[in-house]
Symmetry: C2
Subunit: 420 residues, 2 copies
């Protein structure tokens, strides 16, 4: 594979990495995309895998299918272990990979803010394995409650605590409540559902911080109508096996604590000599380059960029736009042109709560209810990769909508037989 063209290595096949690769199609470079999975995960719908609404395959897409139309791009399935900025080389699980230009789009990991027991005892929602493990566990708790004779243990099995009132926490709490009150009620006719509870804990005084107050209050009201116990200013102090302690001193007994309260840049970047700051993110120049390393770009959740004095959020649209921007800047750099500073165009934010219920802020306008929900459906279907995946997702959503049914209530495969 000897050649004279510069080698661009892009690490991470999330939104940032994928759009960076696409933006380099036909450019006079060889692109190598490195990821630990052979598929791209559509993370905005991951919570629906965890809520037994979608099969994992519906939100995964083979990376090699995406690259087939790009003769100048190749793929390497590997874990990046180290970045040697001086030698311009990566250490990976399958050997060293040299680069001329590097784009790090490694994404984020859960941020536990040092809460004792959170890392050990809470479920997270950052990867396909996380989602499958959580789905299997939730379904398993109902199976356990069915034969459990001890009422306390049964209540613990049927109590689900979601930590974090951001979009992921709100969406998962809503989806979980609908799963329990619809399909699972029909699955377990003998079970007393009065002890089945979904509790959403948010440390701040409102859900969906950052959205207009009208949307925050709508989200809270709808969740409460769906039976979710929303608790604001409820800071988690400690998570132990089968219980959560919140600041008020209250202890909630629960077999299932899902942590969605924080994200940080993937660990490791500081070790490699990259300038990491708050939440482990790499502070980059406005051009998305690493200071002192014009050949290294960082994009997506791992990049720390401020705009109008505020850090950009760690969300898919930022990563997508940065992926496109980095490809454009790389093309400029190759031609000796001046690079352009990245500018995020915020089209809006949306979160779905349940059937016919969502909140959306689009180009500064606020929507709630059915309109927001249809907007949310459309945007997510449009952004999914692959016609077949769109079809699968539509099929599952239609099934749910018309038959109040979740078809993938499967504890499958067994990842760890003993559970968490």
């Amino acid at each position: 594979m000897a050649n004279e063209r510069p080698q661009v290595v892009i690490v991470g096949a999330g939104f940032g990495g994928l759009w960076a690769v696409r933006g380099l199609a036909g450019a006079p470079v060889d692109v190598l995309l490195v990821d630990r999975n052979n598929y791209h995960t559509f993370l905005p719908l991951l919570y629906q895998v965890a809520a037994a609404e979608l099969e994992p395959e519906a939100i995964a897409y083979p990376i090699r299918s995406i690259l087939r139309e790009m003769p100048n791009a190749r793929f390497l399935l590997a874990e990046v272990e180290e970045v040697d900025l001086a030698a311009r080389q990566l250490q990976t699980s399958v050997g060293p990979v040299p680069y001329d230009y590097l784009v790090l789009a490694l994404g984020s990991a859960p941020h536990f803010f040092g809460v004792p027991g959170a890392r050990e005892h809470a479920f997270t929602l950052k990867s396909m394995e996380d989602a499958i493990r959580l789905r299997n566990h939730v379904l398993g708790r109902f199976e356990a409650a069915q034969w459990q004779q001890d009422p306390d243990a049964r209540a613990r099995a049927l109590t689900f605590v979601v930590v974090g009132g951001g979009p992921t926490g709100v969406e998962f709490a809503g989806a979980l409540a609908e799963l329990i009150n619809g399909p699972l009620r029909r699955d377990y006719p003998d079970l007393d559902f009065r002890s089945a509870r979904v509790i959403l804990l948010e440390a701040q005084s409102t859900l969906l911080p950052g959205l207009p107050e009208r949307l925050q209050q709508y989200a809270r009201r709808r969740l409460e109508q769906m039976g979710v116990d929303v608790r604001l200013q409820a800071l988690v102090e400690e998570i132990a096996p089968a219980q959560v302690r919140i600041r008020a001193g209250e202890v909630i007994q629960s077999d299932t604590v899902v942590w969605t309260a924080g994200v940080q840049g993937v660990p490791g970047a500081d070790r490699w000599g990259l300038p990491t700051g708050r939440a482990g993110r790499v502070a980059v120049l406005p051009t998305l380059q690493v200071p002192g390393h014009p050949e290294v770009y960082v994009i997506g959740d791992l990049a720390y960029v401020e705009q109008e004095g505020r850090p950009l959020p760690m969300v898919a649209p930022v990563a997508t736009q940065q992926g496109k921007a980095v490809a454009a800047n790389l093309r400029r750099q190759l031609q000796g042109q001046e690079l352009q500073p990245f500018r995020y165009r915020d089209r809006g934010t949306m979160a779905t709560i349940g059937r016919n219920a969502a909140v959306a802020q689009v180009y500064g306008r606020s929507f709630t209810g059915f309109i927001a929900w249809v907007l949310w459906l459309g945007v997510h279907l449009f952004n999914l990769i692959g016609f077949r995946n769109r079809l699968l997702v539509m099929l599952s959503w239609a099934w749910d909508y018309f038959f109040y049914e979740r078809v993938v209530r499967l504890q499958m495969p067994r990842l760890d037989p003993d559970g968490k």
Copy 2:
């Protein structure tokens, strides 16, 4: 759950157990179905999961969905650890389960015939986890071959050995050859596919023993046309890491050996005092009852029944018919009527080889090629449970047929990161 009605416990939600439950709908009994999984697996299509043709969800169906329409049936997710025939009680992973009548439909496990290393180093195709593990491994071997510099190691990665020329071996070898020669060739444009081989080893002198000679020869010819290296009278002597030794003294270097050469009744039955014979199967009376235990029935792969002096094969149609028969006999038994001996109606056997190619023997008539293939498709779609699963399977098959594409080329989820 105290009640006066007899408790029928059915262990295993495969074809036998499921049809037994269905046959008891509305009967004056309480039925408890016990399985280690919360879903029914459509095993005849398991090899297509392993060949990245179908997603696991397409051939799995939630057991509780099946039981919803049966008010007298309940489900218990548990592993059966012991059967206490004297006390009429099961020991399960979640506690004791008493029964008045018991139907054991536990199925089968791989039979290695004592071949050294087979259990430790070969992949099997008996459960969803098996199929997912094998699919991930096969795809992973191509990823490894892509960066592997050592030509011997690369050849080992790209050599796939299927042991057993029965229907499962023939079907998987064909599906694997089509996966490799179609989608994977396009996925790995840089890879030299001359070293990619599928080798099918059969100890006897023909593939598909038991079928008419014309079908056997057709199957062999078609597999060879598809590039499968078919070796007859090739008895496996030993399987070691990355190699297979066959009787002729020849050693095949391969990272992937798939064992489909034999099945036996699930282990354990002998321990519980059931009269097990050849291949660990329980010899039952013609009524499917265990001798000396009129309240215990054994059906499906675990049951040993002779008809016209020959043992019935361990296949889905036998299990299905026995499930129906056992339900009918239980109804007779409850009413004090005389039980009926089971009689298997053999409608035929079929195996698919690849695109437009299958063999089928139906009511004594033989078919090959396109007609047999269409028959095979129709029978399998018809027997799948659930409208959505049929839709999913049809969708995947249509995609494959028209676009020569396998859409679920996903190494997901990671069951054991280090592989086998």
